[in-house]
């Protein structure tokens, strides 16, 4: 349940991750809940098919009934019958900046979530525990956004071109130099969209005859990029270096499947922080493996750049390693920098290659200038180049908030996944009935949370995912924690067997004799 230091010399600080399993009855009851939902789903489908109930899903026109069916009904069984019943907890429109608090548009449904209508009222000052606003740069303070407004008036918002045609502005060059300096690498390239950075650049780096070793829980953008590239993909267990080593050895010993030739390239795709689990990649072991077997490493720091590390430079700094060890450093500006877009950084040869060969550079519109300026100002703030220590304060505040939040949740007895230092905190709910109940009750208490269920997580492990931000004050966190305490008792969510409250004698911290 707790992973201690496996190789004492590689890790400079203790690496503690929690993946506690709930008692067996919880899994049984979860399946029971899904079973009941499925039975009623079949009943409703039967009623819909025989005309006893109005059909709300898409259907072909009468004239097309003899054609090949356009809508495969059974594939949407889960969406139609289970997701639709609790759909009001997702896609909630907000009408203010997603800072530590935000305003929600109130909406009600008359026909059990098939349609919504807005009442016109807004719910004000809902505490935001779902936005990836790790350093609090999503703000509307006029002083902070001064340079952004100037750039907006100078450049406007449209670029109307791709990087290779007329879309490379001096702002992009300035931003790329700043990103390279921030990360400590030779060069960087920025793209307009974070998802597209992964899915459009991996095909440029690998092709047929190459091998991709990808973590089990990688993000869809990495999976899509890997599939688009045409390379062979093999999956290793989540964060499990033994599994990866076995795959590497097999790849090198046996080569390509039929011809037994050596692989042209072996590339390992991992993420810095996995957003559904809150776990941090085991980078030191990974780098030793990569050097031993001569593979390449692609590190997607979407959630970890800005959020971990002593000065916010990501997992590379968190483990005290040098960025030269990692071949391709990728990240997004959506999470910690309050902007949009992604970057790829590394050696100059790599970035020059991508400037000519990436699909995103050739076809996708480049980043718009005010957004680039927002990233520049956020990065300068983080690096201290604007003359204040605000950046460092934000990173430290995030670290404090994360540790406080996780410690209190553990003490209360919830099951929390992930590393103790990751600002992404998944709280396990397990049963499908509790997903809807939890989100609705938290909204009644004026706290907005993100709950995740089946297709995005394994079927028994639905969860609520909290994203701690540097902009959250201690009072806001306390409000949320008290609400969670109450709700945990009311919904019976405190499954942990290792909470301090149940075994106080095992957790004596200081003995002042």
């Amino acid at each position: 349940q707790k992973n201690g230091v496996s190789n004492g010399t590689l890790y400079k600080k203790t690496f503690i991750e929690h993946f506690e399993q709930a008692p067996m009855y919880v899994a049984v009851l979860t399946f029971l809940g899904f079973g009941v939902g499925t039975v009623f789903g079949y009943l409703r489908d039967f009623m819909r098919a025989w005309g006893l109930e109005k059909r709300n899903v898409a259907a072909e026109r009468e004239e097309q009934k003899d054609f090949v069916p356009l809508y495969q009904d059974f594939e949407n069984f889960y969406t139609r019958n289970l997701y639709m019943r609790i759909r009001d907890n997702w896609n909630r429109p907000i009408c203010s900046v997603p800072g530590p608090q935000f305003d929600l548009m109130e909406r009600v449904t008359d026909d059990y979530n098939w349609t919504f209508r807005f009442t016109g009222r807004t719910i004000k000052n809902v505490i935001n525990m779902g936005s990836y606003n790790y350093l609090g740069f999503a703000e509307t303070d006029v002083n902070a956004l001064k340079t952004v407004t100037i750039e907006l008036q100078k450049y406007g918002t449209g670029i109307c071109s791709t990087r290779q045609e007329m879309g490379t502005l001096d702002k992009h060059v300035e931003l790329e130099k700043l990103v390279a300096k921030f990360l400590g690498v030779e060069d960087a390239m920025v793209f307009g969209m974070g998802f597209a950075t992964n899915s459009m650049n991996i095909p440029a780096l690998v092709g047929k005859g190459c091998l991709i070793l990808s973590d089990e829980l990688n993000h869809t953008s990495l999976v899509l990029g890997a599939r688009l590239s045409g390379a062979t993909i093999r999956i290793f267990k989540h964060n499990n270096m033994q599994s990866l080593e076995t795959l590497l050895r097999d790849a090198i010993v046996y080569g390509q499947p039929r011809s037994r030739r050596a692989w042209r390239k072996i590339i390992i795709l991992v993420e810095g922080i996995y957003s559904m689990e809150g776990s941090i990649v085991r980078l030191p072991e990974l780098v030793t493996l990569k050097k031993k077997y001569k593979a390449y490493l692609y590190l997607d720091e979407a959630h970890s750049i800005g959020a971990v590390g002593a000065t916010g430079r990501g997992v590379v700094e968190y483990f005290g390693m040098s960025p030269d060890d990692i071949d391709v450093l990728m990240g997004t500006f959506t999470k910690s920098f309050g902007a949009a877009g992604g970057y790829i950084a590394g050696k100059k040869d790599l970035v020059d290659f991508l400037r000519t060969h990436s699909h995103s550079a050739v076809y996708a519109t480049s980043m718009c200038p005010p957004v680039a300026e927002q990233i520049i100002r956020a990065m300068k703030c983080l690096m201290g180049l604007d003359g204040t220590t605000q950046g460092l304060q934000r990173v430290r505040q995030l670290g404090k908030n994360t540790r406080y939040f996780r410690r209190r949740l553990h003490e209360m007895g919830f099951i929390i996944y992930g590393n103790d230092d990751s600002p992404v905190v998944p709280l396990l709910l397990y049963m499908p009935g509790k997903i809807g109940a939890f989100a609705r009750r938290m909204l009644e208490k004026n706290i907005g949370v993100v709950v995740v269920g089946f297709p995005a997580t394994p079927i028994t492990e639905s969860r609520a995912r909290f994203c701690v931000s540097a902009a959250h004050t201690r009072e806001m966190l306390d409000t949320v924690l008290n609400a969670l305490d109450e709700l945990g008792d009311f919904l019976h969510l405190k499954y942990s067997r290792y909470s301090k409250s149940s075994h106080p004698e095992l957790y004596e911290e200081t003995r002042l004799e």
């Binding site: 029971l32 809940g33 939902g37 019943r85 609790i86 009935g433 509790k434 109940a437």
Partner: protein, 76 residues
């Protein structure tokens, strides 16, 4: 206040039942149907237990006492 505590506790139990069986997400008529079926099944289980378990326990007790006690037990 005691009645209120008891009522709250019973409501809490009912709510847990709704959450665990995922009938919290069902529409009201589906919930009524589900409750009817559950209560019927539960009543049948209780009735069967009431009718059969004492007889089985008594027979089992007699069987085991026959093995461990003495052989010459007169049978009617």
């Amino acid at each position: 206040m005691d009645i209120k505590h008891v009522k709250d506790y019973i409501y809490w139990l009912y709510y847990q039942y709704l959450l665990i069986t995922c009938s919290y997400v069902l529409e009201p008529w589906e919930q009524s149907m589900f409750h009817t079926i559950t209560v019927t099944v539960f009543a049948m289980v209780v009735y069967t237990a009431y009718v059969f378990i004492p007889i089985h326990v008594r027979l089992a007790f007699e069987f085991f006492s026959q093995i461990f006690g003495g052989q010459p037990e007169s049978t009617v």
